[in-house]
Assembly symmetry: C2
Homo-oligomer: 235 residues x 2
């Protein structure tokens, strides 16, 4: 079975957490919306009046007859099938819980440049974005990354123990993204979370991840995604 | 086994989605943080240096030896054990996907009064809250509730078909909360989503839910929770 991933074709965004899992697993997949007419097909699948389970938004994954939406839900599905999550119920729920905490963090990262709402332009909410970003770095980054630092300290070298899971791949992406969006702030902050940084490096060195990052399949960061570099917000 | 739910004792908040599922299922549970010294015990469980799986934030559920965090994850667990979700993989993932979409909506509801960040006071972000609320009602409420209206139209009378799931209980809570926080706006909007409103009424009439709503176990809405009534935001 070839998986079909549907996500906006020009950004990493939330689709990237799924791409990283598919790539690390060496799964057979196509990034369907990046093919010719792919975005139109994606929109048609969302807006179709047929079918009982239309996704609310990308990313979604077509796996045979299944269409699975919501990033963390897709990873719950893939993790079980590709050895990227524990098999026992307790471990499976724990890793999913951590992914949902990362999902909450991703919303807050997005809100740094869009505090007044997702359908307005950044340019129309700059002062609010500056305030939100200050609070984000003062309060939220230490809370979230401090939590994961502590988990690695307890359970390491990976977040949930000795084996890599999809959460570790996502945490790698968080570090990559914060470095891109806030290079100055992140550089100063990293010394507070050395184990998170070490985990990032360990994930980056995984052969399938390294090959992916060096390929054209990896879209570059840009100012349409979750992680956006605006000088005024970095300081 | 008696479940122990841990959540802030004076608000409905995210804990309410779990309470509604436990109540509808007639499950044996205690609202642990509302007991004497309960909040201190909750904080101790989160901050404990022992244990490999400390929750990031409330709510979390103690089920025997398991400690499960993240609202949607708790519902995934409870749904399977109490007939509040389909048994087959495909249906189970679909219902979880919908709950994650509701979780996204809940974040946006909270952001209407806290656009500049969760650790600042509402009073310090009123103009931004007003802008965010306008965008929320112009764009986001129609998108989210319109999506669920459409699902009920396809699959009804419940969101995923003929049987109630935890998603329906959560959608009931969304309607209740929007009515409390934005009575004027919601009154005008409801005619656009008659099936969502009918589903709300159907859930409210379920015997266990009706008994719960009339009991002291149901905490009243207030201005510390997700749904807050500020006249300036309702208009």
């Amino acid at each position: 079975m070839t998986y079909e991933l549907y996500y906006w074709p020009t950004i990493q965004g939330r689709g990237e957490y799924v791409r990283l899992a598919l790539e690390d697993a060496g799964a057979d997949y196509v990034d369907a919306a990046r093919r010719s007419n792919g975005t139109a097909k994606m929109m048609a699948m969302m807006n179709s009046r047929r079918g009982a389970t239309p996704p609310f938004a990308p990313p979604f994954l077509k796996a045979g007859k299944l269409v699975i939406g919501q990033t963390a839900n897709i990873l719950l599905y893939l993790g079980a099938r590709h050895g990227l999550a524990p098999k026992a119920d307790a471990g499976r729920l724990w890793v999913h819980e951590l992914q949902l905490t990362i999902a909450d963090f991703v919303v807050e990262i997005h809100d740094t440049h869009h505090p007044l709402g997702p359908t307005l332009y950044y340019e129309d909410q700059r002062p609010a974005a500056k305030k939100r970003t200050t609070e984000f770095w003062d309060e939220r980054v230490p809370k979230y990354l401090g939590y994961f630092e502590n988990l690695i300290e307890r359970n390491g070298p990976y977040v949930s123990g000795r084996r890599v899971t999809y959460v570790d791949l996502s945490l790698f992406q968080i570090v990559e993204g914060l470095r891109y969006a806030f290079p100055g702030r992140m550089k100063r902050f990293e010394r507070k979370v050395p184990k998170v940084v070490a985990l990032h490096d360990r994930v980056a060195a995984r052969p399938n991840i390294a090959a992916y990052l060096a390929s054209k399949r990896r879209i570059a960061f840009n100012e349409d995604g979750i992680f956006r570099h605006y000088k005024a917000l970095d300081l």
